[in-house]
Symmetry: C2
Subunit: 168 residues, 2 copies
DNA sequence: TATTGTTATACTCTATAACTATA
DNA sequence: TATAGTTATAGAGTATAACAATA
């Protein structure tokens, strides 16, 4: 006995091929999701981060670690809570991040004389060298994205995303 | 996804935390991050999902639940593993999702006679009604995004994200 | 043997309360 | 009292192995 529910007949454009349909399987209609912003935004973010993780596997850096090292390197002497806040990371969650970066000798917490409660963050020489190499790997990802979207497509995307995220 | 933003279910324009410190604090230089794709992509995704959670709090739907209900509604009778696969959700992780949707009377698992191993998924009447209302709420978010980016900006963004996610 | 749904599990990310030491 | 860093903890989200029922 077939179980045919009355198909949802909501008007939608044709050609909504989506989802990873296996071989021999008909693709599902996900057009109602792929046409809204949130769904492709999430899928694209996961795809870009997966690609990032593959590229950075040999450097042993996650996206969060890369962003922390770059933020510290470009803003040395800032308080731990300032770096965390700028990156949108809760202060408690940034503690383990700094523990790990410090354990690997990439960043350090310097006790401030002015305010002995706070930690001024900085990269070690080793950390600076790793970030320099990491930026080159990151440049490769940007070139790959520019190849996929076109250089102006990539720039337009970044500009639109910044507006949406209200950063910068 | 945790959304414990109690006592605040009013809808607001899309946008997240900027990472800028409080008054009297100099802004950090995050230009090396905001100019690459991955960082604003992640921040924008979080901002849009936060906005989604505020808008959908009264309907009690997370982004993942909304996408599952829409996928089932537009593809009734498909196997549980097909819906999960199309959404990029691991099959084991989709079990709890279906348990919850079934518990709330929004979707149901129908035993297939052709292959008694599989579950054919469908929305209940209640689920269809909720999805219909949810689509209207989602339309409001899209209008808010179109207001922020311009209608053609929003459409361009979605097209670029789909290319990047390699969906469709 | 292979597949579907499931259970169990582990690991990450995130959010909150509360502690300590300083201010 | 307030702030910076920390600890502890709880909740999602996600990934993998393995099992029972079925093909």
């Amino acid at each position: 006995m077939a179980h045919k529910r009355a198909a949802n007949s909501r008007s939608r454009p044709v050609g909504g091929e989506t989802g990873e349909a296996g071989p021999g399987e008909k693709a599902l209609d996900l057009s109602a999701l792929t046409e809204i912003t949130g769904y492709p935004l999430r899928r694209a973010q996961l795809a870009v981060f997966d690609d990032f993780n593959r590229r950075f596997a040999s450097l042993g850096l996650s996206p969060a670690q890369y962003s922390a090292l770059v933020a510290i390197g470009d803003n040395p002497g800032r308080k731990q809570s300032e770096i965390a806040g700028a990156l949108g990371i809760q202060r408690p969650n940034f503690v383990a991040m700094m523990d790990e970066l410090e354990r690997r000798g990439l960043a350090e917490r310097l006790r401030s004389d002015a305010d002995r409660r706070s930690h001024a963050l900085a990269l070690t020489r080793s950390g600076s060298e790793l970030v320099a190499r990491a930026r080159l790997v990151q440049d490769e990802q940007e070139r790959a994205i520019a190849q996929l979207l076109g250089p102006e497509g990539r720039e337009r995307l970044v500009a639109l995303l910044r507006r949406l995220a209200k950063i910068e």
